[in-house]
Symmetry: C2
């Protein structure tokens, strides 16, 4: 397995409207042709929200006592999430890459036990100041990543494209956060670099003023930088922290909307955490 | 690769309401535990029809000049098909198998170029006696199956679960007939047995009279037996013929609704074509 010593780059593709799949796939195609070993992890919130709305089941978000906002994933929502994320988004990315000559291979965390998670069996939610216990939520916390499967695909010259649906302890599909999934995959694969592509250029001191972009963060200062993170950015910074703690060298939070977004991030136009 | 000389059984699971996924998965789990090498291929027409109806895009079928009925798959229908088949059905089967202790691995024909097909760029349809050329149909004819991928999964002790979405010559996802896909997979893998599980006990001389079930068909008589096949059964007999011509030893068309449907078919309660 000496060839596997090749440096691996994990790219997380956000599911928000601002991210340009086609530009990302084009950049992936060029890097892949140059021999770079890549693993993609994607989200799909926007697609899941749109499909849910079309099916008269608009998304419902819950707020934890600590102020964390997350998707309420009951069984019906999980079914919609599976259609949108494992069906639509995963297939669209694989097809787009194949059209550009990349031998992409789509899979979910469920497949072959790639990503195992433990279900949060009771979660607290706060609504109108009242606490409520939710027991029918199908989201989970990642516990392991089966690296041999990804090694096999990489050895075969393929680009794994991973949907964030994990395998629960009872074999049930679980919704896991895509940023955290990308961080865990990068850590398990001892990736050199994790790139989180999103709709903004990185972590900003005064969001949304792009002139306040923080370009360089050393690991020791990351905790303190968390104060600048708002909304979804909090989970990205958390994912970055987890990845670095587990041996990933560089985490880049970068803009996924323009041309050559991966090259752009690697050139330093991002928040570089190391 | 000596271990790969193990006899392979390919099971096609119909997407019609009469097929019992849970019973099939239970049977698969027992056989898998006994060391049988299995590959599953599934449909998903019923789920695609239901989702299309929920999204105000009910299915539309077209009739060829020779009287063949098939799904009209324009781009929007293809998107629904992907959600239902690659999203819902594939994930449900993988989760059900994982819950029963089977290390199932879901993939589509698109992934890693597993199943390549050529798109039917212009198809003829007959409506109210008038011929029409349809150019926006995304269905295809299978041209190849990448066996090394399936070998890798089988070598890893996994059960591949395949969604019938193939990779077109321009990298686009194509709808392919699941019976034909199962036949091509069985042929490419030199499977010993192909089992087509459906909502009826097999080919009947006088459909739907189960007392007229044809239990035994020799290959040389198959052409003539085609006259008894109606509707979807025509494609199964065609798939059987293709599989046998390409070296598969046995094709069983059997009832997928009862308990232990695979054991039941192997015990001879089916139409056995050989």
């Amino acid at each position: 397995m000496t060839e596997m010593k090749k440096k691996i780059t994990v790219v997380k593709i956000g599911g928000t409207e601002g991210v340009n799949f086609s530009n990302i796939c084009e950049n992936v195609a060029r890097l892949w042709a140059e021999g770079v070993a890549l693993i993609l992890v994607h989200g799909g919130s926007a697609e899941a929200n749109a499909l849910g709305t079309d099916l008269n089941l608009p998304p419902h978000f819950i707020t934890s006592p600590s102020g964390h906002v997350s998707r309420y994933t009951d069984l019906k929502t999980m079914e919609i999430f599976i259609m949108a994320v494992n069906g639509t988004v995963n297939t669209r990315l694989v097809a787009d890459l194949q059209q550009k000559g990349v031998n992409a291979f789509g899979l979910a965390g469920l497949d072959g036990g790639l990503i195992r998670a433990s279900r949060k069996e009771a979660i607290q939610s706060v609504e109108n100041g009242k606490r409520r216990i939710i027991r029918d939520d199908y989201s989970g916390k990642i516990v392991s990543v089966e690296t041999s499967l990804l090694q096999l695909l990489l050895s075969g010259g393929m680009v794994p494209v991973i949907a964030p649906i994990a395998l629960g302890q009872n074999g049930e599909p679980l919704n896991v956060d895509a940023d955290r999934a990308a961080a865990e995959v990068a850590a398990a694969m001892s990736a050199e670099t994790l790139i989180l592509l999103t709709a903004v250029p990185g972590l900003m001191k005064k969001f949304p003023d792009v002139n306040t972009l923080i370009r360089n963060i050393e690991r020791k200062d990351l905790e303190q930088m968390q104060t600048y993170a708002e909304g979804r950015m909090k989970k990205k910074v958390l994912g970055a922290q987890e990845a670095l703690e587990k041996g990933v060298r560089n985490v880049l939070i970068a803009d996924g909307s323009g041309k050559d977004p991966i090259d752009n991030a690697l050139a330093g136009n991002c928040t570089w955490i190391h």
